[in-house]
Symmetry: C2
Subunit: 493 residues, 2 copies
């Protein structure tokens, strides 16, 4: 189960944005803590203002953070502080799944710090999740800017407590956490020396990248394995639509796909399948990974093999069922499938997507295997108004953090960020894939998927992954060395 | 009256921070509009969110901005946009007193834009100043971050309306407006190509510069003209304290200083005199300037001449009265003086100083001519709690905008800012006086005072001022040329 927690942080976005009719399907299951915590840390709490940017009487909340100082060489030797920017979920979950930080802390003599994102895990304003998620007024302080300000305030306070004002801070983050790491480095460069932003789609806003990018990459993951596989999926999704038009068709579909209950609309099934395809693309890792359900290495290859190798005469939908079972039932223990597996209903990310995190996504059937879907601002607005009474601010993120013409605008005003991406990851399309300057560096791996680099090293790591991590370590070391040189430190690593 | 409006923007800070017992003395008078508006512009309004950083139901307000497109060469030719970051006052006042922008707009083919700072002038939330300033909850959105976000949102909307997304934006600002310009360039580099931050004490926070800096510079302005002048002032301020201890002494002081009414405490008189000294240092300009009351060129030289040249046997306090009359009554029309000339009472800056803009200032009598004064956080906290029910956040500005170790931290993560300062200006002590990098440049003039460079050129400008402005124009042109080159523009200025 542990292997696949991090990559999930963004599938939630996907589910919400693409399949607007359905509730997010994964967070409920995956948000639970891993059964076994692999690493040792202290759990602490810090009182944060709920609103950093006004003096409105909004009170405070208790932010949880995890800390490990076992390897830290101390303030006098300017021991670095490695801070992981918590994502939209329980921070223990991210700490346990960011093995890269734990792996490299000893050689850097670094302290590890994992602050939890407000409104997630145990860092709930108003005392409980129920109260915090009550309505738009209680949710109103769930924004990326406030979360980054939390991290900044915590960092300064922590450095003060450890007399560690002179210690360099390196930020880490994957997926949404990677976006926060990159943005924090851009907005608070005075508090950090650099950031490793892995699989961080900070360009997936407004019209910076084409809205079809995500689904085109998902589709290419299948096409590159087999054209017939790609075509089968495409054909099946069209079939679902026509079959969904009558009750018999729905019954037939429920039976073919071994659903536990009734199928209400074909769209529910379509969402369930499409989520699996997108998800598989994100974790199209080169070696077996073990998450909620186990997956083989190159899982899409296996999906397509099962679809393509079915006996002649096997129907399109049966082939699909064979294939998608790789994702939903690889270990074979499931008798029937529940389409809606989110026990908690509305999630924090759903709020974020309805307010700031407006990531337009469409599907163009000329290029992708998915049916036509056009992102529609009016539809989104209506949806968010009816859900929360808020209007999404589609231009805010690019106003606050930039993104348009980033090669020109960040070139001279940003430094020391690694944008790490694997091209199999559908989120790579909204990420920075080219060097912006000597120190705003894109590390792109052709065979990589969703921020595999942040996970603990394993004996199965392919050479390119080992090499990617080596480059990351070299760059991070360079930032720290530069900092130490500039501040005339005598400490040599 | 026009000449001296801009330099006043910071004396307010001074009054509040130093003489905490007294209300700000100057804003009331100077905040009124100039009698004659020298420049032509259109006045427009733009609806802004009251809170950019949360989704709290705080509503919106109408922001006023002034715009002049007469010289603009248009979007197709990438005509630059020069934006002045409005300070803590009526924007017409700043537009009229920032002649430098009007002088250089034609040669750059630039549009001029003057957005007003929220909670000042006509840009009042809640419909009126009375409502906006009612209590801490209505005032709570009066922060620098919100103001900078206003400017950013306005800029994007304006560019969209003019199809001017490709046009480079240069920021300008003096005093607090200069701080906003520098901070906006650091935090929103994606929206601008550079900033001229004149007399912007962005380091006057926490313990970045010694708290005695301001008063030491004021004092040096007097000492460099004459040691006896410096000593007379020092002696007089000590005398006031002992004379203030009995009613006869207060009566005597009221008579000596030609006050219109009773003198309640010697501190009131001390504040009135000390404000004049600080104010004189700020506008210790090399040529006559005409503001509320006219001042000669090198006004401190004239103050000291009058103190020193009084007949033998003239008392210390009479000498002081002679001298300070240069500031309060140079044109000779005043019969008696009112110590409290602020008709409006609480000002917006007073709120800002009680919340974010905590600029510690002290006076060390070993180095300055002022009596001992030690900035005291507990005292400030009590004062602000009793005034507004808020606690100042003394570490917030440096968390949000940096400042500590700025040479290291901004070196690689900021670009294209001119920090212009005159060393006679007491605010220069809290400003950036050394180059940080090739493009974070300090322009320091030994004989300059408070942001004279932003004013319209006059035939009286000394060579160093002409040269300073020439350097500024050259740097600004460089930013625009670089931008045009990087965006492959064909437009050559």
């Amino acid at each position: 189960m542990e292997i696949f927690t991090l990559p999930l942080t963004l599938i939630l976005i996907l589910c919400i944005i693409t399949f607007t009719q359905s509730a997010p399907m994964f967070l409920g299951k995956y948000a639970k803590k891993p059964n076994k915590l692999s690493y040792k840390y202290e759990t602490k709490h810090f009182t944060q203002r709920l609103d950093h940017f006004s003096f409105h009487d909004s009170g405070s909340f208790s932010q949880r953070f995890l800390i490990n100082t076992n390897n830290w060489v101390g303030a006098k030797r300017k021991g670095p502080i490695f801070m992981y920017c918590g994502n939209e979920g329980d921070i223990e979950w991210f700490a346990s799944n960011s093995g890269f930080l734990w792996d490299i802390a000893p050689r850097f003599g670094a302290m590890l710090l994992f602050p939890e994102h407000r409104y997630y895990g145990e860092s709930m304003p108003y005392g409980s999740k129920e109260e915090a998620y009550k309505d738009k007024n209680t949710l109103s302080y769930l924004t990326a800017e406030q979360a980054i300000a939390d991290y900044s305030v915590l960092l300064r306070e922590l450095k003060r407590n450890f007399s560690a004002e002179g210690c360099p801070v390196v930020l880490f983050g994957g997926s949404y956490g990677g976006m926060l790491a990159a943005w924090m480095r851009l907005k608070y460069p005075h508090l950090t020396v650099g950031a490793l932003a892995s699989s961080a789609p900070i360009l997936q806003f407004e019209d910076i990248v084409p809205p079809e990018t995500f689904y085109n990459i998902v589709s290419n993951n299948f096409r590159r394995e087999s054209t017939s596989c790609f075509n089968t999926i495409k054909e099946s999704l069209d079939m679902l639509q026509s079959m969904g038009e009558n009750a018999d068709g729905l019954k037939q579909l429920a039976k073919t796909f071994h659903l536990c209950g009734e199928l209400k609309t074909a769209q529910d099934l379509s969402d369930w399948l499409s989520s699996a395809y997108s998800y598989l693309a994100m974790v199209n890792y080169p070696y077996p990974s073990d998450f909620l359900m186990s997956l083989p290495g190159h899982p899409i290859r296996e999906v397509c093999r099962r679809m393509d190798s079915a006996a002649d005469g096997t129907s399109v939908l049966d082939r699909i069922f064979n294939g998608v079972s790789v994702y939903y039932n690889y270990s074979g223990g499931v008798d029937c499938f529940e389409l809606d597996d989110d026990p908690h209903g509305m999630s924090g990310w759903q709020w974020q997507a309805c307010t700031e995190m407006v990531m337009p996504m469409s599907s163009d059937p000329d290029q992708s295997m998915f049916p036509t879907f056009n992102f529609n601002h009016t539809y989104e607005q209506d949806r968010c108004m009816s859900l929360y009474g808020v209007k999404p601010r589609g231009s805010w993120i690019t106003t606050e953090f930039g993104g348009h013409d980033f090669k020109t605008t960040w070139k001279n005003s940003g430094s020391n960020i690694i944008f790490a991406n694997g091209l199999l990851d559908p989120w790579s399309g909204g990420s920075v894939l080219q060097n912006v300057s000597e120190s705003l560096v894109a590390l792109v791996t052709e065979e990589g998927a969703h921020h595999l680099d942040l996970r603990a090293s394993t004996p199965n790591d392919p050479d390119w992954l080992v090499q990617q991590r080596t480059s990351e370590i070299r760059l991070i070391k360079g930032w720290i060395d530069d900092y130490n040189q500039e501040t005339s430190s005598a400490f040599v690593m």
